[in-house]
Symmetry: C2
Subunit: 232 residues, 2 copies
């Protein structure tokens, strides 16, 4: 193993808390009554299906912000909230995904691992979105990679293979770190090694987070545990 690639939403940052808090603020400001946590859950439910349409070629490449905007519009109709948020506010809601808090162990774990290995971010978030999010959260990555560079979304094999190609190593020398089995299954299918990291609160209080499944190279409770296992 020569380099590590880290998933971001859920694995490195707490999207559910970060988005729900910002959605709640925006709703209050517009006098809209909303269970921001449930709203965020339902928005996220539309995440994988929207990317699947791109991966299957049913539509051209679209930036994550575009997909978030489309799924937001659908959700507002489905919840009878369609008249309540104007154009500007809808984009403000989309941008809640641009500023999210890191999990408490993320900076320390990454710092220790980075002292020994190159560490890359590999997200379905766009390149600009990731650059801003990682800077704001103070996450010490060596480089940022994005599904945007492959014009295909994880778990399609293309972003994983593009990662290995850009880092100039064979796929089996990349360790993909994520808290989602769909992501690690995709990485494994593309020939990468995998580390499952438990994020029990990733989906908030109403949903059950993924548990590790057999066949992963590593299974850990935090980035600092991963650092220890890797002798970092």
């Amino acid at each position: 193993m020569k380099v590590l690639a880290f998933d971001i939403f859920g694995t490195t940052v707490d999207w559910r808390t970060g988005v729900a808090e910002q959605v709640a603020d925006i709703a209050v400001r517009h006098g809209v009554e909303l269970d921001a946590g449930r709203f965020t859950d339902e928005w996220r439910d539309r995440y994988l299906p929207s990317m699947g349409r791109v991966n299957r070629g049913e539509r051209d490449w679209a930036y994550l912000d575009t997909l978030h905007r489309e799924t937001l519009d659908e959700l507002l109709v489905a919840r009878n909230l369609d008249g309540l948020f104007d154009e500007e506010t809808r984009w403000e809601l989309v941008r809640t995904w641009h500023r999210l808090p890191a999990w408490p162990d993320a900076v320390e774990g990454l710092t220790r691992i980075r002292a020994r290995y190159p560490v890359a971010a590999l997200s379905n978030g766009g390149f600009a979105l990731m650059t801003g999010l990682i800077k704001a959260a103070g996450l010490p990555f060596d480089c940022i990679l994005s599904a945007e560079l492959a014009k295909a979304y994880k778990p399609d094999p293309r972003p994983y293979r593009t990662t290995a190609a850009l880092l100039d190593v064979p796929p089996e020398e990349v360790l993909m770190v994520a808290c989602h089995n769909w992501d690690l299954d995709g990485a494994q299918a593309a020939g990468l090694r995998t580390a499952f990291v438990e994020r029990p609160r990733e989906k908030g209080p109403h949903r059950t987070a993924d548990r590790s499944t057999p066949g992963r190279d590593h299974s850990v409770a935090s980035f600092t545990d991963l650092a220890t296992i890797l002798d970092c």
Copy 2:
């Protein structure tokens, strides 16, 4: 201006000193008499022409390491040194471009600028090469971009436009920082803003470095001067 993109070879790191010192070491180890400085100058002379052939479509995209290997082989023939370095040593020579010292003002200047703006590396060096070089030199960039992502080399407009597109800003909101007029001319032609930074020792003792030409948005003596001009 929203983001800054920094050239690397010559602008941020001292390629001439770094490559010449490593070439001298390798030559001594192989018992080859060589003026490593002149050898490095002549190798670098073949840099822009080799990339021009890619940009004009006379050959398919080739990674910078591949171009460096080809120009090395040509240079060894031209200097009657062809029999003296084996395959492994030639790749070792190519990799001298992967580990280069930062100019003394680079880390401090970047750190100050980064506190206010996103800072990107934009090099003709490959993505993996840049990731390793920037990590080894301890340069605090927010993200790494490479001509490799556009499959065209600067000064072709494509890498500059790809930079703006990936950072999700119009070209005129990117400030390109470089010590080469050919790079800044390319950036300007692609619609970017430009900052010339003087690097008088960039080409070593036998060559004259570029001087600033009229029409640049900024012209500075160091990255720390640039930080000051930008109120960072």
